[in-house]
């Protein structure tokens, strides 16, 4: 006898069984995991699931992207701002491979995703059938976990495991590939959430002795410097982190993905580290006596030349992923565990301190950076708009409350350097993979996850065109995302490198662009173009005031450069201001 299925809402697991198809089981698994939105693109091998989705459209909102890469990035944007698992779905073959860039991006930036791909029938596997690719093999190096389902009965367990793995510990992307016959096959469905996997320990146990040793080193430091990363945000450790730095009075700098964990205006926030980071934290990395890394992984864009990176300092590393410890920089004390627990436990062991003289060094160097770089970026006197002043205007009009979704290139560095972040999870960008084309679809996902927030996408003319087709998604879904394109008619960052390191040979970096405003309007998106400073403020206001989506093109200086800059292979303290 057929029993009634008992999933009543998005968070309950089913207690009884019901004979249903594999494709219906997929939908029920998603509902059981609390998924109410997914991004994707249908095709032959995933059609049974889409057919079921039609039945469940009042419970799960499917966002039809215009390219599977757009679906994956949108799911990333959704995950990054919500802290929940983003879900993307595609058909087999090209549909599946089109997801890969987004999956790779999610892997390196620790973004929880569950990607579902259809696959040819199991009897055709390995036969080079139409639209068959070995997506499990292809995605292996860029997924936290992946699995191919060939029998419908595997679906509940694999989905439960997938969501558990994607969101636990250091988050990451998971791919589930389902053969078409498994989607059709009927079986007795019952869903139980995954509570653990024998071989997988998401959060290592924090060793009390390492915590004590870290506290002792921090308490005795004369010139401590904290560099925090996204681990603070992913671990929901913002409050614990703030309490730690305020008690110990430690100047704290952020990696690109750590941005916004504490407000930009916090007196202990000394800016961004890395290739285009701030002058003071980069230079003083090679002056501090204790470097405390929290939830960051010493990426090469942060460290510059490892041979000269913080050699004088004792290194303390708070980290959830044991494989990151000593991977790039040899640590003196590693505190394993999740950031919230570790920092909460560290707090009572710390002595109150202020490090006034040490702070003064940061302020002195900031003055130098301000005079040589920041002043010209934010308050230019020359004709021609700078990218920095656009950010400044956005800051003023959003009061630092907006979530900024940036693409990759010069504008990204400018956005990260100058955007004011008053709320956590406000800087959504492709950090590790550096994926041009990320921002437009990611902004869609971010805005859909947080409709109450102002979500402003900032891209260059190059990256914008890499997924420009997602304007169609914005139009269809009526996503009120604000799109700002800083157009310098160049692939600006590459051009900057060509100028500085390739004797100004601008090989294939100049872009002849279309009428971006006309394109936006073609998608029925309000749009305007600004070329002069006097029009900027009103244009930003019109954009912010617009209730629907809005496109703003700002024609900026063609050959403006982003400074400071640490040339590849140079030491962080050799950072150039011009």
């Amino acid at each position: 006898m057929k029993e009634t299925q008992t999933i009543k809402n998005n968070t309950h697991t089913s207690q009884t069984t019901e004979r249903i198809s594999g494709s219906e089981a997929v939908i029920k698994c998603l509902l059981a995991e609390g998924v109410d939105i997914l991004y994707g693109y249908p095709g032959g091998a995933i059609m049974p699931v889409y057919d079921e989705l039609y039945k469940y459209q009042d419970k799960i909102h499917h966002v039809l992207s215009r390219h599977e890469q757009g679906a994956a990035h949108a799911a990333q944007g959704y995950a990054r701002i919500s802290g929940k698992v983003g879900v993307a779905m595609a058909t087999s073959g090209p549909g599946a491979t089109n997801l890969i860039t987004g999956i790779a991006d999610a892997q390196i930036d620790s973004t929880p995703l569950v990607c579902i791909t259809g696959q040819v029938g199991s009897h055709l596997l390995g036969s080079d059938a139409f639209q068959e690719t070995d997506i499990v093999g292809i995605s292996t190096p860029v997924t936290k976990w992946n699995h191919q389902i060939t029998k419908a009965s595997e679906i509940p367990e694999v989905f439960a495991k997938a969501f558990y793995i994607a969101k636990s510990g250091r988050p990451g992307p998971v791919l589930i590939d389902i053969t078409k016959d498994a989607q059709f096959e009927e079986f007795d469905f019952k869903y139980e959430k995954c509570k653990g996997v024998r071989s997988y320990k998401p959060v290592p146990t924090t060793d009390e002795n390492s915590l004590k040793a870290a506290a002792e080193l921090i308490n005795n430091a004369k010139k401590p410097l904290i560099v925090w990363g996204q681990g603070v945000i992913l671990g929901k450790a913002e409050d614990a982190f703030k309490a730690v730095i305020e008690k110990a009075g430690i100047p704290s700098a952020w990696t690109i993905l750590g941005a916004s964990a504490i407000p930009t205006s916090h007196p202990l926030n000394v800016g961004m580290v890395g290739m285009h980071g701030n002058y003071a934290p980069n230079v003083l990395t090679n002056d501090c006596d204790v470097l405390i890394a929290i939830g960051m992984r010493f990426d090469d864009r942060v460290t510059g030349n490892l041979a000269t990176y913080a050699k004088q300092a004792k290194i303390v590393h708070f980290e959830i992923d044991p494989a990151e410890v000593d991977k790039n920089v040899k640590t003196d004390i590693a505190v394993l565990g999740d950031a919230k627990t570790s920092l909460t436990d560290l707090l009572p062991l710390l002595h109150p301190n202020s490090h006034t003289d040490w702070h003064q060094k940061f302020k002195d160097l900031y003055k130098i950076e301000y005079e040589k770089v920041i002043k010209n970026d934010l308050h230019p006197t020359k004709e021609g708009l700078t990218m920095g002043e656009v950010l400044k205007e956005i800051n003023l009009q959003t009061k630092g409350e907006a979530a900024i979704v940036s693409d990759v290139g010069q504008h990204q560095m400018i956005a990260c350097r100058y955007a004011e972040f008053n709320k956590t999870k406000s800087n959504i960008t492709s950090g590790g993979l550096g994926t041009m084309g990320f921002a437009l679809p990611a902004a869609i996902g971010a805005k859909m996850a947080a409709p109450e927030r102002e979500v402003i996408m900032i891209a260059g003319d190059g990256g914008y065109q890499m997924n420009i087709q997602e304007l169609g998604t914005i139009f269809q879904q009526k996503v009120p995302v604000k799109i700002v394109v800083l157009n310098n008619e160049f692939l600006g960052m590459v051009r900057q490198w060509q100028q500085l390191f390739f004797e100004k040979r601008y090989a294939s970096t100049e872009m002849v662009n279309p009428d971006f405003v006309a394109i936006a309007k073609g998608y029925h998106i309000e749009a305007q173009k600004v070329s002069e400073r006097k029009d900027l403020k009103a244009a930003v206001k019109e954009m912010i005031d617009c209730e629907g989506p809005y496109f703003l093109e700002v024609r900026v200086e063609k050959e403006d450069n982003v400074f400071p800059m640490i040339p590849t292979g140079a030491s962080v303290s050799d950072i150039r201001l011009e």
Binding site: G137, T140, V197, R198, S199, K201, A323, E324
Partner: protein
């Protein structure tokens, strides 16, 4: 800069499809050649064991172990130096049968090397030998003089001299 050394890696895993791909990719993307690879059931029901041999520095070895253990379905990975393990490899030689009777020396080689004749027929005979790599290399050199129709050598299998406590670790994982 530290020198390359030969390490034997023992990896305890869930017995799942695709894990070999994940583990080999860890070595591949770092341009590390896997000298030998064997997978088999382990002493624990449902748990597989990979045994690999690589020539890399200890610092590289430690980092690779970290990356291996990071894989969701890997339970635990260890690395061992040569003096920490007891290991064996196995090989098979296929040789023309006429040589067994025409070349008396071959019979001596088989006897002295503690190899074993597995089968004999009119065309060929097959010899099996288990031992350390050097012993197998020596036998290979000695038999090469007479001509080898086919030769194959297995991956290394190894156990540690000291207790590895994997069962205790596994229990801790389950708690």
């Amino acid at each position: 800069m530290s020198e390359n050394k030969q390490y034997t890696v023992s990896i305890y895993t869930e017995n799942n499809i695709g894990l070999l791909n994940r583990i080999s990719a860890i070595f591949q993307r770092r341009h590390m050649n896997v000298e030998s690879l064997n997978t088999s059931p382990s002493e624990i029901d449902g748990v597989s064991r990979f045994t690999l041999v690589v020539n890399i520095t200890e610092s590289q070895m430690k980092k690779v172990i970290g990356q291996i253990e990071k894989q969701v379905e890997v339970i635990k990975a260890f690395y061992h130096t040569e003096d920490e393990i007891i290991y064996q490899e196995s090989c098979l030689f296929k040789i023309k049968s006429e040589l067994l009777f025409d070349e008396r020396q071959i019979q001596n080689i088989i006897k002295e090397s503690n190899a074993r004749i597995v089968t004999v027929n009119k065309e060929f005979f097959a010899i099996e030998k288990s031992g350390r790599k050097e012993e197998i290399d020596l036998l290979h050199r000695e038999l090469s003089v007479f001509g080898i129709m086919q030769f194959t050598r297995s991956g290394r299998i190894a156990v540690t001299k000291d207790e590895m406590k994997i069962s205790t670790l596994l229990k801790a994982f389950q708690d």
